[in-house]
Amino acid sequence: MLKMFAPAVGFSTVAINYVFEPKAKKQEVPSPMPITELIGKLPMVQGHSCPIRVLNRLTVVMSEASHFRPNASEYRPFDLLAVQPTTEKLFHAACMLCDVDIICILVTERLPFFFKRAPINGSIDRGVVFEVSYASALRDITMRRYTITNAVCLMESCKGKNVILSSAAEKALELRGPYDIVNLGLLFGLSDTDSKEAVTSTCRAVLLHAEARKTASGIVYTMKSQQEVLRDTADSEAPAAKRPKST
C-alpha cells in the first residue's frame, strides 16, 4: 500500500529499511526480501515515464563498538547502510571511521550527548550524511518535541549541510509529499535552499556514495557475469565470417 502512494506523491526512489539491533551475541543480520516478492509490477512515478526504483537499506543500532563490523559479507545484499549511534564515542567513531552512508539521529528520546563540530566536519568531508526521520513526529506530541529539539541541535552544529529528511513510515498514510517535507525542514531550522537540497540533491548524493562504496576505489564494480552464456549463443547464431569480437 505504501508503495502505491509513494510514486503517486512524486518520489522516484524508495528504500525499504531493515532495522537491526544486536542485543544477543551472534545475532544474525536479517536478509532482505527480494523486491519482486513484495510488489509484482513497479508503478510509474507521477510526472515521469519510468517506474519507481526500490532499494534495500540496513540500519544498525549501535550501543557498543563491536556491533558494526565493517566490510561484513552480510551487508552486501543491502544497497544503503546506516548506523544509529547512541553514545558520544560511538558517534565520533561513526563519523570518522565507519564505512557507512547515513548516520541516523535519535528522534524518540532526548539526545544523551551534544554534537561537536569536529566529528561533524569530518563526516561532511567524507560524504556521510545525517538523517532525521519525521514519522514519529506525526504520531505523538512528545516525540514531536524531541524530533524538533534534536534536529535543531544538529542544524546548529552542521550549518545545514549533508542532511536528509526521511520518513520512517510504517503505514501508507504516514508518507508526505516532497513540498511538505521541504516546509518541515524550515521548522527544523534549515534555510530554504538547504531544505530543498535535503530532499533532492543530498539524497541523490547518498545513493551515489552507496554505489561507490561497493566498488573498489570507486572504479571497478564486480558482479556475477552472465557474459559466458551470451557469447556461446551468439557464436552459434552468427555466420562464421561475422563472429563478434569477445569483450
Binding site: 507521477q46 514531536r144 498514510l173 509529499g177 513540498y179 511538505d180 516546509n183
Partner: protein, 166 residues
Amino acid sequence: MVRVKSRYLLCEINVSDRSNLLKLDDRAVAGAVRAAVARIHGDYGAALCSVRFCVKYLNAHTGTVFLRFPKGCYKLLWSALPFITSIESRGQIIPCFFNCLHVGGTMRTCQKFLIRYNTQQLHQMLPKCKNEEEKRQIREAILSCTLTGRNDETFEDELMSEEDGE
C-alpha cells in the same frame, strides 16, 4: 498599498479508501486545518489562521482542495499541514494526509495548474482502461480540458464535467 495579497495552496487529500472521500465537506477540512495549526503553533498560529484563511474550493470526487492563506505567514501555516492525520466529518473520523501540489498567488494560476495536472492524470489512466467505451470517454475528457470563462474542469474518475464559480 495597492492590493491585499494572499497565497493559494493547492492540496490533494489522500485517503486509503476512496469511498470515504465523498464524505468530506469544506467545513470539516477547515476545522481540521485550524486544529492542526493550533496544536503545532499554539495561540499565535490559531490567531494567524483567523486573518484570511478559508477553504476556497473542495472537490470531493478527486480530493482536491484550494486553501487561502495571507502572504506574510503562509509558510508557517503550511508547515502545520503535514501533521494532519485525520479529518472528522459528520461524526466519522477519516484517516488521510494532505499532499501539497502547487502554491499560487491567484486562484487562476492554481486552476491552470490543476487543469494541467488533471490532464496528466487522465493520460496515465488511458493505458489502464478496460474497454473501448472508457477509452473514448477519457480521450473526450482530455480534449475538453480548457480554462473557459466559467472555469470548467473535468474529473479524473467519474468523467463528468463540473462547473465551479469563484
